[in-house]
Every structure is written in C-alpha cells, then in structure tokens.
C-alpha cells in the first residue's frame, strides 16, 4: 500500500471514529463529568486468640486438657469492617469429658491484666455456654478491639474444649439507615 493510499485510509478511519455511534439529529444531552462513586459499608468482627492470630472464618477455641487447670484464656474481638458496631452476637459451646461450662467476659474501657486476671474497666459478660448465645451492646469502633476472657464456671471439670463465635448483622449491630441531602 502506497503512503498516499495509507494516508487516505487513515483519515477515513479517524473520521468514522470521531463521529459518535449514538449521534442523533436534533438531540441534546448533558452528562456529569467524572463518574460518581457510590460505596457500601461492611460490617464484620473476628475473634483473635491470645497469640494475636485472627480466627477469620472459624470460631475461637480454648482448651483445658489438664484436670485442675482452671486458668482463664484471653483473647479479643476486633471490628474488621468499615461500619462502627453497636453490638455483636456471640455463641459459646463446650465439649469434653466432664466439660465445665464457660463464660466469656469483655473488659470494656481497659485491657485485661492477664497476669492478675483483673480488668481496670467494666467487665461485661458476652455469652455463657449455658445460654449458648448472647448479644451484648458492646460498641466497637472501626478497627477497634475489645479484650475478652474465657473462664470455666463449673465447680468441677475434666477436659473442656470451648468454642466461641461472633457474628454481626446490619439490622441489629449497625447504625440505622439515614436519608442525606446535600
């Protein structure tokens, strides 16, 4: 193809490309500049074990394998969503030979002293294995976390394996819907 022919073809292609495919005679249009972004919140909480490992996708487990070991286990619950949480729902269950019931408490406003087993803030019970589920109104800011303690509550116990889960639902644990004008 000669340069002249190539130039002519190139010009024709450019002209075709320049004409909008949807161009309509006698039509006017107005559109916004850059697209408007609309994003949705996420609500999520995860339990973290005493080593700092987030138990994403699974419940937190705590075990007492030695008879006579009644020391509490510590961990935390962390807000991993983009919405502040007004509460959470916890589940707790135990199994094992002569398993003891457990109670899960949070230390609100302070951190657990794991050595002394004390809380300088307010101790709030999140759930007991006897009840199975609990829905405390413990607020969690975005990225925030709350220390928890899992304690055996039975007078006697053999081996106990406790399982604690957490869930959040927007209908119960996220701010109410709003209407915004701007």
């Amino acid at each position: 193809m000669s340069k002249r022919v190539a130039a002519v073809v190139g010009t024709a292609v450019a002209l075709v490309a320049a004409v909008p495919a949807t161009a309509t005679a006698g039509a006017g249009a107005a559109s916004a500049g850059p697209p408007v972004g609309a994003t949705s919140l996420s609500w999520s909480a995860v339990l973290v074990d005493g080593s700092g490992v987030a138990q994403t996708g699974r419940p937190l487990t705590a075990g007492w394998a030695v008879i006579g070991d009644r020391a509490p286990r510590f961990g935390s619950v962390r807000n991993t969503g983009t919405a502040a949480l007004t509460g959470q729902t916890y589940t707790a269950s135990v199994n094992g030979l002569l398993a003891s019931p457990v109670r899960v408490d949070a230390c609100v406003g302070a951190a657990w002293n794991t050595t002394a087993n004390t809380c300088a803030g307010t101790v709030t019970t999140l759930v007991t294995s006897a009840a199975g589920t609990g829905s405390p109104a413990t607020a969690l800011a975005v990225g925030g976390q709350l220390g928890i303690r899992i304690s055996l509550t039975g007078a006697l116990s053999g081996t106990t394996n406790a399982t604690v889960g957490v869930s959040v639902a927007n209908g119960a644990h996220v701010r109410a819907a709003t209407t915004t004008n701007s």
Binding site: T39, L41, S44, N181
Partner: protein, 220 residues
C-alpha cells in the same frame, strides 16, 4: 516610341487567404444565426435577501448543592442519598422527550439485581414552580416523581422523565435519590456472606438527553 511597358509584377497570394475567408464566412453565419435564435426573457428578485436561520438545542446541567461531584460513601442498607441538579434547555428550540440514562461500572452487586431487590435504586423527582433546598431536601413548589425507584440496571438504557414538550429556556429542578434497599446480612467470624452487598463500589455517570420538538410545516 516603343511601348516597352514594364512587366506587371506578379502578386503572390498569401496562403492564409482561404483560411481568413472561411473564418469571415463562419462569423457571418454565426452572427446571422444568433439573430435568428434570440428569445425574450425577464427576471425579478427580492430586494432584501430572505434570511434563514436554524434553531439550537442545548441541554446544560448545573449542581444545586453537591450535585454529582461528591462521592457517596459508606451506604448502609436503607440509606438514601439525595443530590440536586438543575437542567436547563438553553437552546432556541423547544425540546421534548427528556430522558435519563446512567452508565454504571464497578461492583455488579450494586448495579444488577438479578432475581433480588438488593442493588442500588434511583428515583428522580422534580420541584415545579420552586426550587429544592439541598440542605433540607424541601421543595419550595410542587414536588412530583418523574421516575422510579428503578434499579441501576434498568437505567442502562434511557428512561423517560418528561415525555412531552420542554420549552426553550425551561429549567428542570431535579432531586436524584440513590438508595441501597433495606436488606439484612450477617457476617460470621469475619467472613462476608456470599454475594454480599457490603464493601462494594459502583461508579455512576448520569446522562440527560432531549430531542428537538416535532418538525413543523408552516404557511404564512
């Protein structure tokens, strides 16, 4: 006295002579013939040129408040975000068939419903004989719903807002509502549910369009 006349010099004829004679003859025929075929004619024209102009069709959008310049962040189910724009049909021609089309890209969960009613929805309301107050969402005139609520997927094609005439110079004062339908999701142990509505982003481009009034035939 002897008549010794001098010989008459012989004049040589120019070789162009026949050609010249022929040209003269042709010219004569043409002149005579022209006279034979002449016709009478007469013309007239308007003294002042008739001016013909074409109308214009323009549609302009201006924000009333934040408009579409400000992103909508962190929507929770049930949230409604209202934005306000003024559309001016600024040409010299009347228009008709005002429509809205929204090009949406990004997360499919916010754009397409499928068999659900979970994706974003858009409602368009008009404030006639008054203006919207963006801070309060109040209409100083008469508020009417022009469209919706419809899911974004419906707005992939142009939807009618005003099917009839839009007068030249008219301003449509619109409220555009974006709503995330109320729905409940539970996140267990930090894992979002399948096909979640959470943490998604959609990018919306609003295009308003109108066409010229119906063409007319005028006698005057």
């Amino acid at each position: 006295m002897p008549n010794h006349a001098l010989p008459v010099p012989h004049r040589r004829r120019s070789p162009w002579r026949p050609i010249a004679l022929a040209a003269i003859a042709v010219s004569a025929v043409v002149a005579v013939g022209g006279g034979v075929w002449a016709t009478l004619s007469a013309t007239t024209a308007n003294g002042t040129p008739e001016q013909v102009t074409t109308g214009t069709l323009k549609l302009a959008m201006a924000a009333n408040g934040s408009g579409f310049d400000q992103a909508i962040a962190n929507m929770a189910p049930g949230d409604v975000v209202n934005r306000y724009v003024d559309l001016t049909s600024g040409g010299t021609l009347d228009a008709q068939a005002l429509t809205l089309q929204v090009a949406a890209t990004g997360s499919a969960g916010l754009v397409t419903d499928g068999a659900t009613t979970r994706a974003l929805r858009v409602t368009v309301r008009q404030c006639a004989n008054g203006t919207w107050t963006p801070a309060t969402g109040l209409c100083g005139g008469s508020a009417t719903t022009l469209l919706g609520p419809v899911p974004l997927s419906t707005l992939a094609s142009a939807q009618s807002l005003i099917p009839g005439v839009v007068a030249a110079g008219a301003v449509q004062r619109l409220q555009i509502s974006v709503q995330l339908p109320d729905q409940t999701e539970t996140t267990v142990n930090g894992v979002l549910p399948a096909a979640t509505i959470q943490g998604l982003t959609a990018n919306l481009t609003y295009t308003f369009a109108e066409t010229q009034r119906t063409a007319t035939t005028t006698n005057s």
